[in-house]
């Protein structure tokens, strides 16, 4: 840190100087935190990862390999196999065999035991999984340690509990498993999304073929090792790595009974098209452009904190992010000032440092996309504000960003940016807020900030989105369903609702 604003007192201790005249708070001079990196020296990654099919790691038929890099250093971490349609076919066959011979024959109680074991083993490996997640995906260790991994374990625990209670889940109906489930997950919460997919599927008696995203395959491959160590019957969980074509091979495979996809609306539409006319069940968890509505009676300092959590959590790579802030006119100046001030204390940098608030953008592709949107926003006439934080020279980093002077018709208001970029609009009446909130193609999540309980119910009922948080944001729990309206997808994951897509009711 610079020494210029400090002076030495008699005993040689550094002391801050008196405050500056423009009443700005000084968050940088004087006491700054020393580096506090989580050690990663003990993490053992293979140089090359094979596909996990039928309980063992096998090389891909064509031997094509891809690289996964650490987005904070741009250095490669490991090679992994690109699964071809032949490999996917082998995985589906193994899943089919496991479904028919073992998994669907087991009692719910026995299946539950395995799933509980997976949950416990995720907890046992929590530290390493968190470190790998941060290395591979760029998210701060504070989040992978405190959110991703504990929640992933929680979803396994929760659905393990359903395994022997399926007879009571849908009163009067018998819940049969669907069969082989093809699951495709995104790069923003790799292990957590894996748990949302695999845990309910296994609990209901299905077997799975899962494809992690091509930029973040490592925790899924580590999970494959956990499945081996847990003694999970061969073929119940198959992990095939690769990019879009591998995903397409899963979706198009004739022997897959259900598709679960989480990712972009663009790819979701392609998947829905190719599923049209087939008998496959499917759930799609797609994009969002969540409205976060702050009324003038809101607890303002806590609302500011909520806005920070809603858009800067996981670098803004969150489908349910509150990326559109709607503020009631009377408090907008005050709120904006406080928000800018709070942004100054956000630390952007090494994902493995325990003090990092915002880590690295997940990939070069996403980094370029965010920068493109920053340009679009400026060209649309919006006013851009970024925090004054220093960002590392190497790696894909983006400063936390606000756009004011934006209109509902602007692309930065309508389209999902999937980065630490917030647009800010004002409103006068609750009606106007509701209109603006609903006026995008998406409907995944939103937030309301007010001190008045009745307003929470009145407004949230009129917002067409799967989740509405009140006086908080980005809170997840295995018992709570999650999913979208409109172009944000169909079907629900989590809770009892999340079991429904994985069963056939009789």
């Amino acid at each position: 840190m610079t020494q210029s604003t400090k002076e030495k007192s008699q005993n040689g201790e550094v002391k801050p100087t008196s405050p500056n005249s423009d009443l700005k708070l000084d968050f940088n001079s004087f006491w700054s935190y020393s580096d506090a990196p989580e050690s990663s020296g003990h993490i053992k990654l293979k140089e090359k990862y094979d596909l996990f099919i039928n309980g063992e790691f096998v090389a891909g038929k064509k031997g094509r390999m891809m690289n996964t890099i650490n987005p904070s250093t741009e250095k490669p971490l490991a090679e992994f196999t690109e699964a071809t349609s032949e490999d996917v076919d082998a995985a589906v066959k193994s899943a089919r065999k496991a479904y028919e011979k073992t998994w669907s024959k087991l009692s719910g109680k026995e299946r539950g035991k395995y799933i509980y074991r997976l949950a416990r083993m995720i907890q046992e490996h929590a530290k390493d999984l968190a470190i790998i997640e941060s290395m591979d995906g760029g998210k701060p260790i504070r989040e992978s340690r405190d959110v991703d991994v504990p929640l992933a374990a929680a979803y396994f625990f929760y659905y393990a509990g359903w395994a022997d209670k399926l007879d009571y889940a849908f009163p009067g109906r018998k819940a049969d498993p669907v069969g082989v489930c093809g699951q495709i997950i995104p790069w923003n919460f790799p292990l957590l999304m894996l748990s949302w997919k695999i845990a309910p599927a296994l609990a209901a008696g299905n077997t799975v073929v899962l494809k992690p995203a091509e930029t973040t395959p490592l925790t899924a491959l580590k999970f494959a090792e956990i499945c081996q160590d847990a003694g999970l019957p061969d073929g119940v969980v198959n992990i095939v790595t690769g990019a879009g074509p591998t995903g397409a091979a899963i979706v198009d495979h004739p022997d897959v009974d259900k598709i679960a996809f989480t990712g972009s609306t663009e790819v979701g539409k392609i998947i829905q098209k190719s599923l049209a006319g087939t008998e496959k069940k499917f759930t799609l968890e797609l994009g969002g452009k969540g409205p976060n509505i702050v009324f003038e009676d809101a607890p303002i300092d806590q609302a500011v904190e909520g806005i920070i959590n809603s858009i800067f959590f996981n670098q803004g790579h969150v489908c349910c992010a509150g990326s559109r802030l709607l503020v009631q006119e009377g408090i907008s100046d005050k709120l904006l000032k406080k928000l800018k001030e709070r942004m100054e204390t956000l630390i952007v940098g090494d994902p493995l440092d325990k003090n990092t608030d915002i880590g690295a953008i997940n990939s070069k592709m996403q980094y370029d996309k965010i920068n493109e949107y920053l340009e679009i926003g400026v060209n649309e006439g919006a006013t851009i504000h970024q925090s004054s934080v220093d960002i590392p020279e190497n790696g894909y980093f983006c400063k936390p960003t606000l756009f004011t002077d934006v209109g509902q018709s602007n692309r930065i208001v309508q389209e999902e940016i999937f980065g630490p970029v917030l647009t800010i609009q004002t409103f006068r009446t609750p009606e106007e807020a509701i209109d603006k909130a609903n006026n995008t193609p998406f409907g995944l999540a939103g937030g309301i900030w007010t001190d008045k309980g009745s307003k929470i119910f009145k407004v949230s009922q009129k917002i067409r989105s799967g989740v509405v948080w009140a006086n908080t944001f980005n809170k997840f729990d295995p018992t709570s369903p999650f999913g979208g309206y409109k172009e944000s997808g169909m079907g629900r994951e989590g809770g009892l609702h999340g079991l429904y897509p994985y069963v056939n009711l009789k």
Binding site: T5, E13, P16, P19, L23, D26, F27
Partner: protein, 302 residues
């Protein structure tokens, strides 16, 4: 008393309890290591109001406490001394004498501490007695009964008149947050105290449980920030009671740093009302310097 426009104390600044506590728990995740830890430990030491407030306090005990304040740990003479020694009015003279020639202040509680259940005249006399005996700082208590009744003008006027009685002495206003119960009350009492002329706002007497907590401190720091930005005046903050460990002290400093910024990170603007905290800070400092923990027998209990 100040003349700028005052907020309406009958209106309430809304505060969400869950949100405040979540913010604190996030700040508690800051990891303070190496040089930043050493710097913070020494800073915390220099911010202590070394306190003894017991009916059985003797002159001997106060003198002993003053010598600890001067030189907290003799084997390391370069360590900073504490900010002040905090005593009852009847001990001010003793403390003042014992601290002659140092820059350590003498703080005295006053206004019928800790309950504040006395007549206005008695409170004024109490304050003047302490100031006349040489107190540099006065720690007064507010009338919680009147506050909870909604009699905010009474509380305001009382603080203003005590401030006047203080003369040149700095006034710290103890809100006794453990009796105010809600964060919104804490915020309101903070605002009243600052607008009425407090130089410092302080959480607790240490005689009521709960004493200082981090969420209460955060609410008060945010009140100080908003007051600063409305008036341009810096107000100091003193959490008191229940802060015993160095780790807690570092967490408080993180709260200050990320709410008010670097300007408040000095004994002039932030104090810890504590006594046993001193030895834990010393223990950690010695551990940082030498790499090993010393037995508690090596640190004096005063």
């Amino acid at each position: 008393m100040n003349t700028e426009q005052q907020p309406n104390f009958n209106s309430t600044v809304s505060i969400d309890k869950v949100g405040v506590e979540e913010r604190v728990s996030r700040l508690n995740k800051r990891s303070i290591k190496n040089e930043s830890k050493m710097q913070a430990l020494k800073l915390a030491l220099s911010m202590i109001d070394l306190t003894t407030l017991e009916g059985k306090d003797s002159e001997g005990k106060v003198i002993q406490l003053c010598s600890k304040a001067r030189t907290p740990y003799a084997p390391m003479p370069d360590l900073p001394s504490v900010a002040a020694v905090c005593v009852y009015p009847s001990m001010v003279k003793t403390a003042k004498n014992a601290l002659k020639g140092t820059s350590i202040n003498v703080a005295s509680v006053a206004t019928a501490f800790p309950s504040g259940m006395a007549s206005h005249q008695v409170k004024l006399e109490d304050t003047k007695f302490a100031v006349d005996a040489g107190a540099d700082e006065i720690d007064m208590v507010i009338s919680r009964g009147e506050f909870l009744k909604g009699n905010y003008n009474f509380v305001y006027d009382e603080i203003a008149s005590i401030k006047e009685a203080c003369g040149d002495a700095h006034l710290k206003v103890i809100l006794e947050t453990g009796e105010l119960e809600t964060y919104e009350n804490v915020r309101k009492a903070s605002d009243i105290a600052m607008y009425a002329g407090a130089d410092f706002i302080k959480t607790s007497t240490g005689k009521i449980s709960p004493a200082a907590t981090q969420p209460v401190t955060l609410v008060m720091l945010e009140a100080i920030r908003d007051y600063y930005q409305a008036t341009g005046k810096m107000i100091g903050m003193k959490p008191a009671g229940g802060i015993r460990k160095a780790k807690q002290a570092l967490q408080y400093l993180v709260l200050v740093k990320e709410t008010l910024g670097a300007s408040w990170l000095s004994p002039e603007w932030f104090r810890f009302g504590a006594s046993s905290l001193t030895n834990d800070l010393l223990m950690q400092i010695v551990k940082q310097e030498t790499g090993v923990y010393q037995s508690s027998n090596y640190f004096s209990n005063d």
